[in-house]
């Protein structure tokens, strides 16, 4: 049973007075992650909105020790800290329960510049959680294209809409044979909370990716963050799943789409609710372009359905 939002702990690790935008999905997600991790954790950040939100030196909007690292290095930095804590505990220099080491990184720091170090950390199965809050662009620098930007989306570096589909990063991480991989999004806080609690208690490398609809980059009203997140799941543009030791299972409501019990909602309404697809979908071949985007989604659903059947 998924934990109800009413049952989440009252404790907060995201403090009031931070610098995030109204309706920021990453900060909402971090609040939930904080409830699941508690205060005994060490946070790593690469350049991103989460750094801009945390406040400026010497102030700090997050209730953890926070280390800012070079953009490409979330994976290797977390490895360094996790290994240091473990050996210092073995040598008797640290007592008590070791803190959870977690990286809080955007899609740029995960899909693009951070991929090499992250892949290597996963292959070594070092003991930390990598969170990717995925707003499908470099939002912090003013919305540029990333490897997570979906086909058709406007960014300042794809002014007429991106021509390529996004890649399936969570699946790439799964193929590193790490003990836990999950996807989540802010419209399903209990699902996210449960996944973080689970990840916290598994030794080795854990990867959790959170779809984070950004009103600024996606061009919708900032009051509609949660609604946008829910629509992404209902149309199958974002699938909720988790994999423990390589075995994929889908979470509600994505499980109904995968099983065929429920058809995904057509993508049109999801696209039209956002401004970022306007340019791509303007003109006489709009319906063909919507079909291209729909095809990307259908392909991922079909692929993940088949991939989930493989359990070795």
């Amino acid at each position: 049973m998924t934990t109800s939002i009413k049952k989440l702990p009252d404790t907060e690790q995201v403090l009031s007075g931070n610098g995030s935008c109204g309706g920021c999905p990453a900060t909402m997600a971090l609040r939930i992650v904080g409830k699941a991790l508690g205060p005994n954790a060490i946070m790593l950040l690469t350049p991103s909105c989460a750094v801009a939100s945390m406040g400026m030196t010497p102030r700090l909007g997050y209730n953890w020790p926070c280390i800012n690292v070079c953009f490409a290095t979330a994976g290797s930095s977390a490895s360094g800290i996790a290994n240091a804590l473990e050996i210092m505990k073995e040598k008797g220099r640290l007592q008590g329960e070791l803190p959870t080491v977690f990286s809080w990184v955007g899609d740029g720091g995960t899909y693009d510049i951070g991929l090499q170090a992250l892949s290597a950390a996963a292959e070594r199965n070092d003991n930390f959680i990598h969170f990717c809050y995925n707003n499908e662009a470099y939002s912090n620098t003013g919305v540029q294209r990333s490897g997570a930007t979906p086909r058709g989306s406007f960014t300042t570096t794809t002014p007429t809409g991106k021509r390529q589909p996004k890649k399936n990063m969570a699946l790439l991480m799964l193929e590193h044979n790490i003990p836990y991989v999950a996807t989540a999004t802010v419209a399903y806080p209990g699902d996210l909370y449960d996944k973080v609690v689970k990840a916290r208690n598994i030794p080795g490398m854990k990867y959790i990716e959170i779809l984070a609809p950004c009103y600024l980059g996606w061009q919708f009203d900032m009051s509609e963050t949660v609604q946008m997140s829910r629509m992404a799941v209902r149309c199958g543009a974002w699938l909720l799943w988790e994999a423990e030791n390589g075995k994929i299972s889908f979470n509600n409501p994505s499980s109904h789409i995968i099983s065929g019990k429920k058809d995904p909602v057509p993508v049109d309404e999801y696209l039209m609710k956002q401004g970022r697809f306007n340019r791509f979908l303007k003109g006489p071949d709009a319906s063909q372009r919507i079909a291209e985007i729909q095809n990307d989604i259908d392909r991922e659903i079909a692929f993940m359905r088949e991939r989930a059947k493989i359990a070795v």
Binding site: P39, N40, A41, I42, L44, V51, A52, M54, G55, M56, T57, P58, L60, Y62, N63, W64, P65, C66, I67, N68, V69, C70, A72, T73, G75, S76, S77, A78, S79, G80, I81, N83, A84, L85, E86, I87, M88, E90, K91, R93, L94, P99, Q116, A117, S119, A120, R124, D126
Partner: protein, 376 residues
């Protein structure tokens, strides 16, 4: 009371033994010629339970230094090593370590820089990192590599500034020389356990290297600049106390040979400076009052100590194994001239670049070069 051991080892193995003696906690490593054998030796020590540490086999040098820096921020004593393009690949992380005031110790086994590829020694790699805020030692023997790594940990942890220990690829890294390994209890006395003033600790949430406004940023940089200079007396103190405990001495900020009455002074770093002692003897036999001044430290540049050591009216022949592009000559000569300007008008500085990409530097060749420079 244990006695010191004398063994035959390569410079790379001497480095690994020093790291083991320093009781490091975390060693991230990545192979690059000619540094690889340091990492191989450390990985083997960890697997054979001779060294109680974590070896992290990372996927590149950028990650190697980052993992070391992050482990240091968690409170561990850390070490890594690299060469040439590996060092260049680490460039932004070098700044992260010094700006973050973390006492990382790293060996750089000097090798010429790509392109084109070369495997052999010159000093363009370490000299190109002069402005990254690291303290830089350059060593001329296997024993000095061992001794300097231990001194480097001590200085780094006193001033919270990372230290790079440089020595030449192959000439030092792959050549066997006798090495005196002091008893572990002596080393423990010289280098006490690392006790960080600050570390990532959930009991005390704080940010590390977060965004700053100009007034804070400027202060951080000013403090780094000030503290790098303030490390000079600590470098001397470390060399002296190491000598008091182990009886071994490689010089402190500088090392000299037959310098007191010298009229012609050769100035160079690393293994070529060891060979230069023999060139000095040749020149002396020819009736030339020659001497050697070898900076062990090139950053901070030991200007005061060089100034004090240089005899009056000396001609200084700077032998650079690197290019100072945009100038005629090498970087060491520029550093020396900058230190001398307006202070020692009695000194003449002449400069040649040699030994690039591992070109052989024999004692006779360098003695002849110095003679030729005297006539310029």
């Amino acid at each position: 009371m244990q006695a010191a051991q004398v063994i035959m080892v390569t410079g790379a193995h001497a480095a690994a033994l020093a790291v083991k003696s320093a009781r490091v906690d975390v060693v991230p490593g990545y192979p690059i010629t000619p540094q690889t054998s340091i990492m191989e030796a450390l990985a083997a020590m960890v697997e054979n339970d001779e060294l109680d540490a974590r070896f992290i086999p990372v996927e590149g040098e950028h990650s190697a230094l980052v993992a070391a820096v992050a482990a240091s921020a968690a409170g561990a004593r850390v070490f890594t090593a690299t060469s040439a393009n590996g060092l260049l690949y680490m460039h932004e992380v070098l700044h992260m370590a010094s700006g973050g005031r973390l006492p990382v110790v790293m060996c750089n086994v000097n090798r010429g820089i790509f392109a084109p590829w070369t495997l052999w020694a010159d000093h363009q790699d370490s000299f190109a990192q002069r402005d990254t805020g690291w303290i830089q030692y350059h060593c001329s023997s296997n024993q000095e590599v061992f001794n300097t790594i231990l001194q480097a940990f001590r200085v780094a942890e006193q001033v919270n500034i990372p230290v790079m220990v440089n020595f030449d690829g192959f000439a030092i890294s792959h050549c066997l020389m006798p090495l005196t390994v002091p008893p572990q209890e002596d080393i423990d006395r010289f280098l006490p356990p690392y006790q960080p003033e600050w570390r990532l600790d959930p009991a005390h949430p704080s940010s590390f290297s977060n965004v700053t406004n100009a007034p804070e940023y400027a202060v951080f940089r000013q403090m780094l600049s000030r503290d790098i200079l303030a490390s000079i007396p600590l470098v001397k103190q470390a060399a002296q106390e190491y000598k008091d405990i182990t009886g071994m001495w490689d010089g402190d900020t500088i090392d000299t040979y037959r310098l007191e009455d010298a009229e012609v002074v050769a100035l160079a770093v690393n293994s070529m400076a060891a060979e230069l002692r023999l060139s000095i003897d040749i020149l002396r036999e020819q009736g030339i009052k020659a001497g050697l001044l070898r900076p062990r430290l090139i950053l901070p540049f030991p200007a005061e100590d060089i100034m004090e050591a240089l005899p009056r009216n000396a001609q200084v022949m700077v032998l650079d194994r690197n290019y100072n592009f945009g100038h005629n000559g090498g970087i060491l000569a520029s550093e020396l001239k900058s230190a001398l300007f307006g202070r020692r008008s009695d000194i003449t500085v002449k400069n040649r670049v040699m030994g690039i990409g591992g070109l052989d530097l024999t004692r006779r060749f360098m003695a002849a070069e110095i003679r030729a420079m005297m006539d310029e």
